[in-house]
């Protein structure tokens, strides 16, 4: 009994540790977003206070006859508005005269007179006769106004600083709290599991390992006794003629098929080796394996960013009721995720399409969006099913660059099936060739090119 309970407890602890990790990550990501919004709010408030202050000052400046920039600006703007108004009035007069076949000259003269009167009125309004009283009044009040403005701005900035500090402290506390939890739980977990040797082990720098994998459909052996290792940080290509069972291998790894026999081991994002045969299809992504499909599978009703967010589905902490009530946590998470999605789109050079709907976008762009989508879930292993299918040469070259970039910048291992030999030989570090479910050869692209067995499989024997 005891080992089973221990196992359950250990699983529970693992889950808690993982959630604590995602929480700390969330707080780290949310901090800059919050600070930015606070800053924007402050700047807007300060701007409006400055404007109000200028208007108050203007009321003092006008009778005192002090010429400031703001006064001049206002005066010129009002004159310009007057000009425009009378321009349109002139147009009306001219047009109606033209329609009726009359002369417009007298009416235009009247309009000019009216305009001059109004202009002089405006001038009087802005430059009235200077009185000494007003001047002294200005001299008394101007410094007071400026002082009050400064005080207000200082107050705002102080409260802003306070808010920022508060938020930073809050975040810090939360992060510390979760780190503490993490450490405590980790020690507990270690105590429980120290007696036990790790259940599964993989060689160092191996991410994925297939051990004599077989998949039989009735009498058809789609995959037969296939074993290979995928090393960390490499681009691994799986090639073979049509019907060799490449996609079946993919489907076995991602649990769409249950292999007839054979084992699949994977080192997940937390560095633990997991036995993939025990996992469910929709939990594979939590371990860090993301896949794409041969034909792009988009959610056509959603725009590109929302399509990316679908793949971040497992990272959200907010639950069903949080979604129903649009909780604060959800809104914060959405901000974090959107920023992440935008960053990924910018990295892949498709940020122009972020609000577009995928329907009708070029195929090359759709493929890139699908690649971007895999990155949303912090993957460790990206499985690409014929990424270059249906692309032209230029698009394929572009895709090769993007795949390399993903490998380098996002530290993900890439495992792809491809028919385009140019692409495979160009980007892959290791290539495995299979035929009728059996492994033919594995090695560097050069070795595969020169391998006689592979040539025979592709071109037929003599």
């Amino acid at each position: 009994m005891a080992p089973i309970i221990n196992q359950i407890y250990a699983n529970f602890l693992e889950k808690r540790i993982n959630s604590a990790k995602t929480k700390t990550e969330f707080y780290d990501n949310y901090l800059p977003i919050k600070l930015q919004t606070l800053e924007e709010k402050l700047n807007r408030k300060i701007e409006i206070i400055r404007l109000k202050h200028k208007q108050k000052l203007l009321a003092l400046e006008i009778p005192a006859g002090i010429e400031s920039d703001y006064l001049k600006e206002n005066y010129e703007a009002e004159i310009a508005r007057l000009e425009e108004k009378f321009y349109w009035k002139q147009r009306v007069v001219k047009a109606s005269a033209k329609r009726k076949g009359e002369e417009a000259a007298t009416k235009l003269q009247e309009l000019d007179k009216e305009k001059n009167i109004k202009a002089s009125e405006i001038k009087n309004k802005y430059y009235p006769e200077v009185s000494t009283d007003a001047k002294s009044n200005y001299e008394i009040n101007q410094p007071i106004l400026i002082q009050s403005l400064n005080e207000k701005i200082d107050k705002l900035q102080d409260s802003h600083q306070e808010k920022v500090e508060n938020f930073k402290n809050k975040t810090k506390k939360a992060v510390e709290k979760y780190q503490d939890i993490n450490n405590n739980l980790s020690t507990k977990l270690h105590e429980i599991t120290k007696d036990k040797v790790a259940k599964y082990s993989l060689e160092e720098n191996v991410v994925l390992s297939l051990k004599s994998l077989s998949m039989h459909f009735g009498g058809l052996k789609a995959v037969d006794d296939l074993s290979f290792d995928v090393k960390e940080g490499e681009i691994f290509g799986l090639i073979g003629p049509n019907g060799a069972g490449k996609t079946t291998v993919f489907n076995c790894i991602t649990r769409f098929y249950k292999p007839t026999y054979g084992d699949i081991y994977f080192k997940n994002i937390y560095g633990e080796v997991v036995y993939l045969n025990d996992k469910l299809v929709h939990n594979i992504i939590k371990e860090g394996i993301v896949r794409t499909f041969q034909n792009v599978e988009m959610v056509w009703e959603l725009n590109v960013i929302d399509n990316l967010l679908v793949a971040a589905h497992t990272i959200y902490r907010s639950g069903f009721f949080g979604h129903l009530l649009n909780s604060r946590l959800l809104r914060q998470e959405e901000k974090v995720m959107r920023r992440k999605a935008m960053k990924i789109l910018a990295d892949l050079g498709i940020s122009d399409y972020q609000y577009a709907y995928p329907y009708g976008l070029p195929y090359g762009i759709l493929k890139k969006i699908e690649l971007a989508r895999t990155l949303m879930a912090n993957p460790k292993l990206i499985i690409l099913d014929e990424p270059a299918a249906g692309l032209n040469d230029a698009e394929t070259a572009d895709l090769a660059k993007v795949i390399k970039k993903i490998r380098d910048e996002y530290k993900a291992t890439i495992f792809l099936v491809e028919h385009d030999m140019g692409l495979v030989m160009d980007i892959c570090d290791t290539v495995c060739a299979i035929s009728f479910g059996k492994k033919l050869a594995i090695g560097t692209p050069k070795e595969i090119q020169n391998s006689k067995v592979v040539q025979e499989a592709y071109l037929g024997g003599e």
């Binding site: 047009a95 929709h282 594979i284 499909f293 599978e297 129903l324 959800l330």
Partner: protein
């Protein structure tokens, strides 16, 4: 008013922030629904039929909202709505009349019942899809209908269950007039709209859409088909049962013939006619299918004497909408809105040319 100063522009931006808020439209709809009641309160003679039509339409909007989550987002067709709404009405009737339970307990019980039924149907939906699922839910609904007819001790059989407009809020029997329930219904509808919008704009809504597009892609992205199918069915059943509870408290009478296949089909028609993925579309569709008949046609003797005509009208409407506007009538509304805007802009330029003369 034209804004020239920055302060004024700021104020205008704040007003726009409110009017552009997604909930603002729901508020306007609720207010429009309440206008009948307000007119009556102000002393304008509004016929009882019209007020009742608005009340019933609001209740059916709640039911249709739940159904749209199922059909428009999860992509699952169900014809069991009538049975679920019926259960809601009978739960309220039985609990108030025989057990003298408070309304809140009734709502709790109906939610629990909805979860149970949703789980059952959801598990069925895992194995069966499309048309076959619709037929199975239809069977379930028919079974429920037979139960309504024959469980006389609870449902009073084919005579129908009446409540004499009595409700128990906390402990005592309270006679609540229909006007109050009308207003409460409007408020509930408002909140249900908000909840629906929140749900469909959230990760859950996106997961449902992903599942509808391709189950395998959704699974690869971490969406558990089991969880979301069950969730969709439970949510839709809860909406339906809540609709039933409100129906019973507003109409105070429930008869099995109301909860037949025709009702399920009408809800389906309302969602499809309006637009299955738009909340405004559902409001519009429910009005076209239920509101027009109850509120407008019933005012004329001709339609009263020939009830089949309104059914024919519904049929014609469905044919036309599916032929010309597969996205629902809401598409027609939005396209005409933009066309009108364009035409207005054109008219404006023409008028300007006439008034101000050409630019040269």
């Amino acid at each position: 008013m034209i804004c020239r100063t920055e302060v004024c522009k700021d104020r205008k931006a704040r007003i726009k922030q409110i009017t552009n808020h997604p909930y603002f439209g729901f508020f306007i709809i609720t207010f429009l629904m309440l206008i009948v009641q307000l007119l009556r309160a102000a002393g304008v003679p509004v016929s009882n039929t019209l007020v009742r039509a608005f009340g019933i339409t609001m209740i059916y909007i709640i039911v249709a909202l739940g159904f749209s989550i199922l059909l428009g987002y999860a992509g699952l067709a169900s014809l069991g709505t009538a049975g679920f709404v019926g259960i809601g009405t009978y739960i309220l009737g039985y609990f108030t009349k025989n057990l003298e339970a408070s309304v809140f307990i009734v709502i709790l019980v109906s939610i629990v019942g909805a979860i149970v039924i949703g789980l059952i149907v959801g598990f069925i939906s895992l194995r069966i899809e499309g048309m076959y699922l619709a037929i199975i839910t239809l069977g379930l609904s028919e079974i429920l209908n037979e139960v309504f007819k024959n469980a006389v001790s609870i449902t009073n059989g084919t005579n129908g269950l009446g409540l004499d407009s009595q409700l128990i809020l906390f402990k005592n029997l309270i006679f609540i007039d229909h006007n109050t329930i009308f207003i409460v219904t409007a408020i509930i509808m408002f909140f249900m709209m908000i909840l629906t919008l929140n749900l469909i704009k959230s990760p859950t809504g996106r997961a449902l859409l992903a599942m509808r597009n391709s189950t395998s892609a959704a699974q690869a992205m971490g969406v558990s088909i089991l969880k979301y199918r069950l969730m969709a069915f439970i949510v839709s059943t809860v909406y339906a049962m809540l609709g039933g509870v409100i129906y019973m408290s507003y109409i105070s009478f429930s008869i099995p013939t109301t909860w037949s296949l025709a009702f399920s089909l009408n809800i389906l028609a309302a969602v499809i006619v309006g637009g299955s993925q738009s909340i405004y579309g559902i409001v519009l569709g429910t009005f076209m299918i239920f509101g027009l008949n109850l509120g407008v046609f019933q005012q004329f003797d001709f339609f009263k004497n020939n009830p089949a005509i309104s059914v024919m009208f519904n049929g014609l409407l469905i044919i036309l909408v599916i032929m010309f506007y597969p996205g629902g009538l809401i598409r027609l509304v939005t396209t005409t809105y933009y066309k009108l805007k364009k035409a207005l802009a054109k008219l404006k330029t023409k008028w300007r040319e006439y008034r101000y003369g050409s630019d040269n």
